[in-house]
Amino acid sequence: MKFFKSFFLIISLLSIPLTAINKQAHIEGKFFSKLSDYHFFKDLTNQIPVDEVLPYQLQSELFSDYTHKQRFVYVPPTMKVPHEKNKVFMFPVGSVLIKTFSYQNTISELAPQLLETRLLIHSEGGWKAVSYIWNEDQSEAYLSLVGGTIQTSFSDKNGNIISVRYKAPNKNQCKECHQINASLTPIGPKARNMNLTLYYDGKPQNQLAKWHDLGWIDQDIDFMKMINYSSFNENIGDRARAYLEINCAHCHIPGGAADTTGLYLMLEETNKKSLGFYKKPVAAGKASFNLKYSIVPKKPNQSILLRRMESMDPGIMMPESGRALKHTEGIEVISEWINSL
């Protein structure tokens, strides 16, 4: 009996490095050369995660050239995820956020296409950001510190085929958006942006309640109301502020890449001048469009903020990186909001 027991123990120990998530690598901040090396997925191509990796979603998400995004989080066993109001969840060292960008092409003859999977790894030395670019036969994604250009096409919601020069970010570009002061941080997973219902094994449950059940977070956490900017039922002011929060505020925040402008677009910002109302540009150059202010209430066409969202010129467009297409629906939200002011 004893013999068999140890035999099985040895087998199971041996099998751990082959299939289990390699926590030590995350802690050391090591990047594997292939996405499959992390063992986050049972089925890589179909993005079916292993049990320890939990899908999550955001209310409002950053526009990234109409890509579909699947998000997953890995938190080391028995660890807590502390929360501070208005801040991103404080995932413990060893945690990994996983985000796969794809074109689903559901209503066209185009095949679905996985583009890249980005990882944010919380190592002992802080968060590290890295992208894996999918191969053509969609069987594997490979480490790319220098990013990549993917020239491709996808079908939009009306079935029109749109061509896009999709850019997977390089290591520096990851940092441009994810850095506040001197340190890298996740952007999306704030409690206020995750208060929604998902299906877990077919059963609906509030995402934050699920995280509580997992022992990650406390039951009564305090957060501001934030909505999905795509939701037509909501107040246009709330939609616009949600849009600016998730699309702009990672740079337009004190300590962020765009803090030199004094234009701050976080959901919690209340100073109208800081939000752009009758605020002059500082270093916009031709991106001012010969206009005087970031936002002129009731005058979307005279508001630099909107004009820069509409632009496709790299010297003008906002955000500076992460899009090669216009976000028509986002432009509509901001335009309608400015009109309503």
């Binding site: 220098v146 001048k273 469009f289």
Partner: protein, 391 residues
């Protein structure tokens, strides 16, 4: 760890080649750009400290961005202890070279240029360090920027010397910065030659301790081509040196020649602002030992309100030196603090106009004052800037 030399030559994949070199470089490494034109489609960036990017000369190693498809600048530097030297960034879609939060950065014999001449659609800034400490710009060239050729913003400890700026709206602009020396430069055929500005509602403001000396500021009469909405769009064509809302600025031993509106203008920030900590008026300005030749002969009265006002008030006799005279209301009544007063000590008896704001507001009184002796006093030289090692 021994430093490596990484050599990059122009190729079909110049963006990828250079960007890879910049990402895989280690502190101490040199990335060498050979001679030739590198055609680049996406913005480059460096985030490794202690790296030097060097070419074979500003007219030999050219980074050409006419076909740029992404990136708000040609090259972005975000790491410390970086040296850029002997190459050019040409026709970037946005700014040419920006560095943000990059301490100890040196630009040596670097050129930024928009080759189509002055044009509103040119990028805003040529050399653009911002939020940095210890900046050296030496022997550089900046041509054609639709805002400033050399722009240093919200920074501390700055030397801009021996550089040539031409066909920009502002040749050299020091904005919201502390401790800057600007000397030995030639600012020629810009809209305004050298500007020292402070703006409200920004993370760092209250610009102070700036020395502008030994520069040649000549023929800065290019019509203002800044897109409206930008502060430099308000600068009259024909401005030599302009100081706005800074304190402790010393302007001396410059040759200021053929600037059609005025040689030196000292002005307040005239627009509204919210920030209560912002001080919109210039203080402790010292002007001495400059040479003034033929300024104010072709003022920008057609397109610029300030020049037009000055032209009307002066009956067409534009001065070498102009101060708008605006001070807080209490000081209009009781006078400026002694240490805040402007001091002018010039040999060549330049012409000056200052305004009396109270008389300016009231009807029928002539607000114009032309007595330079009102500003006589002892010059208290500011200290030279010393760049520290920041580690």
């Amino acid at each position: 760890m021994s430093a490596a030399l990484i050599i990059v030559e122009p190729s079909e994949n110049s963006y990828k080649d250079i960007q890879e070199a910049l990402i895989f470089a280690e502190p101490g490494d040199v990335v060498r750009l050979t001679g030739g034109t590198f055609v680049i489609e996406d913005g480059l960036s460096l985030d490794i400290p202690g790296v030097k990017i060097e070419g074979e000369g500003m007219d030999a190693s050219i980074l050409e961005f006419s076909n740029q498809k992404s990136g708000a600048q040609g090259l972005l530097v975000t790491s410390d202890n970086v040296t850029l030297q002997d190459f050019a960034v040409v026709n970037a879609k946005g700014d040419a070279i920006k560095s943000k939060g990059a301490n100890n950065i040196s630009f040596i014999r670097v050129k930024t240029e928009w080759t189509g001449g002055p044009n509103t659609t040119n990028g805003a800034y040529g050399l653009y360090p911002v939020e940095s400490e210890n900046i050296l710009i030496d022997d550089c060239v900046a041509i054609g920027a639709s805002d400033a050729g050399i722009y240093v913003g919200q920074s501390i400890n700055i030397i801009v010397k021996n550089s040539f700026v031409k066909h920009n709206v502002a040749g050299i602009e020091i904005e919201n910065s502390f401790y800057a020396d600007v000397y030995g430069n030639l600012a020629e055929e810009n809209t305004g030659g050298i500007l020292v500005f402070d703006l409200p509602d920004l993370p760092q403001q209250g610009g102070h301790h700036v020395r502008v000396f030994n520069n040649k500021v000549i023929n800065n009469n290019t019509p203002n081509f800044a897109p409206e909405g930008n502060i430099v769009g308000e600068v009259p064509s024909g401005s030599g040196i302009m100081v706005m809302a800074n304190s402790h600025v010393e302007v001396f031993e410059n040759r200021i020649e053929n600037n059609g509106t005025t040689g030196i203008a000292v002005v307040s920030y005239a627009d509204d602002y919210e920030d209560k900590s912002y001080y919109p008026h210039p203080r402790s300005i010292q002007i001495h030992n400059n040479e003034y030749i033929n300024n104010g002969k072709n003022p920008d009265v057609e397109s610029n309100e300030l020049a037009k006002l000055l032209f009307e008030l002066s009956n067409g006799e534009m001065p070498d030196i102009f101060w708008d005279g605006v001070v807080p209301i209490s000081q209009m009544v009781f006078g400026q603090n002694q240490e805040d007063k402007m001091i002018i000590d010039e040999d060549g008896s330049p012409t000056i106009i200052t305004l009396d704001p109270i008389k300016y507001i009231l009807p029928l009184l002539d607000p114009v004052k032309r007595d330079i002796n009102e500003f006589s006093g002892n010059i208290k030289p500011l200290k030279a800037v010393e760049l520290n090692e920041v580690l």
